[in-house]
Symmetry: C2
Subunit: 361 residues, 2 copies
């Protein structure tokens, strides 16, 4: 039985690829950037499935504390057994010529260590958001990658997502005139027991996990950096979930042009993720804006009403992201969302927490 | 040609009632509360049209600086010529037995003076929002009405509007669980030359005019008073409109339970008015929430999706408002939105301005 790449991706997305195609031939094109996947949690599944739809990237190695799980996934993605690493032996990856880059999909507090170790091993780094659990760590990650002459990209998938990109284009085109105000929010009710609820691993609550999308969106939608930030945070549900991280954060920002933005994030409520951008000639919104798929662009300007659901299906954003980073590696270009982009968010997040009487990390 | 009340209201809403029915018989039931309309601007038109649909209220007198305009409207509403007052002669209204109440629809900075003069004339007062242009004025208005033993109600029409009322009921019923976070915004691009752009008349910009709806909504949706407020304001368009008032305000609030709310208001952009309320079991929204008609309730909880446009047409909110106040007058009840409700908003508005480095009034 031979599966096309497209068929495999669909089966993989359904979680049944392994049972149908237990040993896919290794992706072998020498023009493809080989990624070591560090951490085999949920988001790594999306990323690996996404990679299958690229023409320039492949899964070349796995790093995990669970050998069994890693071997199962290795078989699925055609990764040779010798390219499975434990965390202890991770540094040996320096010798693996099949690996040009790593994808850091670990709990947030481990991003800095593995980014720096990967850089020292001579590998380019694609690191999940939030970049780190402290500003100092983010700075150290950038410095380590610079010193090792490897690229560092933060996995801000919305920068590679057509609904968000079109919103930015509409705004930049002047369709709604000078932006005045933005609202954005992202949150969900979290289940007890998630590692994200342990501040030692996460560095913070919903703000670092999903609020960061609203924060980052306000920045790419305006093309400006917030000049002033003010925030409140709270815990309402004293049910054991929020012993170390906040449950809700509300913050407002003022940008140099005068644009104001108000944002919410929560781990305690059904919120979804959206933004609304208001100008004198119209408005642009996305709702949902930050989902893995099903995002929808809404706009009104020039007598036109836009309502454009994005038909692309997960893992298209992960495909676009891997494609972009591999392209940058292969052609010596700077990624659209380098470490500096992540560092800026970490500084704003630290400022939001400070304003709310909390601390990051 | 005889017009039914319904027909007249519809024609009136179209602005052509006067030409078709130049002299409607005076509304004469002695059980109806007679209102003196102070200020004959746009909102007074809505209010007077709204009164025609009540069974307990009538337009009994007009107060205006423009005798011609007042006579035209008097003919339309069956107000006798001797019940038309200039501002100078307003205090003579004390002797007018047809008038039990006044509706203060003047520029904001005149609300206090005419509320207090009306109270001294022994008339109940229904005053438009914002109640005043200073906290001290709001306090003086309450004191004057207390001293004169007349009722004072602030015209918060959304408290009498079914879309908003149903949202409150759903939340109080526990449909979405403990509220965690709210977003609300209201704004529009203002035309040059409006009196609202003159701070001496308005007391402030979009915050006192339309942002007050978002502020007030956060309070009635939660049933709580904000414990902490933080805000930013800005002027982006230096085109002469914003020489004395702000163009944009963004603010965040934290309530005693821990609920957080983030809000925006603008005079510089197409924003509309809406709110979104998030709980662990679902969400409730209205979009639009604050329009004269066409409001729409949206909610998701218990596997249910609500999408309920309110079919009622303007001036139904003004009808409900007049009906409520007349009922309170006739039966000696306290209105749902007394002066104290307006005073609270004035205090929060003063706090929002203070936080943003501005001043109210």
């Amino acid at each position: 039985m031979t599966l096309t790449r497209r068929e495999f991706t669909r089966l993989s997305a359904l979680g049944i690829a392994a049972s149908v195609a237990p040993s896919l031939p290794a992706q072998s094109s020498s023009t493809k950037t080989g990624y070591a996947i560090i951490g085999l949690g949920r988001i790594a599944d999306h990323f690996m499935a996404g990679i299958l739809n690229t023409s320039n990237s492949r899964v070349a190695a796995l790093v995990s504390g669970h050998r069994d799980k890693a071997e199962r996934i290795a078989a699925q993605y055609g990764v040779p057994s010798e390219s499975i690493y434990s965390y202890e032996k991770f540094d040996e990856i320096a010798k693996n010529k099949d690996v040009q880059a790593v994808y850091v999909a670990l709990p947030n507090s481990m991003h800095a260590e593995y980014t720096i170790r990967a850089a020292k091993a001579g590998k380019h780094v694609l690191c999940e958001k939030p970049m780190s659990t402290s500003v100092a760590d983010a700075e150290a990650m950038i410095a380590a990658c610079k010193a090792a002459n490897v690229k560092l990209m933060i996995a801000y998938r919305c920068h590679y997502e057509p609904t968000n990109l079109k919103a930015v284009q509409l705004i930049r085109s002047g369709a709604i005139g000078q932006v005045q105000a933005i609202e954005s929010a992202f949150g969900f009710p979290i289940a007890a027991g998630e590692w994200r609820l342990n501040k030692n691993l996460s560095g913070g609550g919903p703000l670092v996990d999903v609020g960061i999308y609203a924060l980052n969106a306000c920045r790419y939608l305006t093309g400006e950096e917030p000049a002033h930030i003010s925030a409140f945070a709270s815990v309402i549900d004293h049910d054991g979930r929020f012993n170390t991280v906040e449950e809700n954060v509300s913050w407002t920002m003022k940008f140099p042009s005068g644009i104001v933005a108000s944002c919410n994030t929560t781990y305690g409520a059904l919120m979804g993720g959206y933004f609304r951008v208001h100008g004198p000639k119209g408005w642009v919104a996305a709702d949902p804006a930050f989902n893995y798929d099903g995002n929808r662009l809404l706009a009104s300007f020039d007598g036109k009403q836009l309502d454009e659901p994005n038909p692309a299906r997960d893992p298209y954003q992960f495909t676009a992201q891997a494609d972009h980073f591999s392209h940058c590696i292969q052609y010596g270009l700077e990624p659209k969302t380098p470490g500096e982009e992540g560092l800026r968010d970490m500084r704003y997040i630290a400022e939001i927490y400070r304003s709310a009487g909390l601390t990051l990390g």
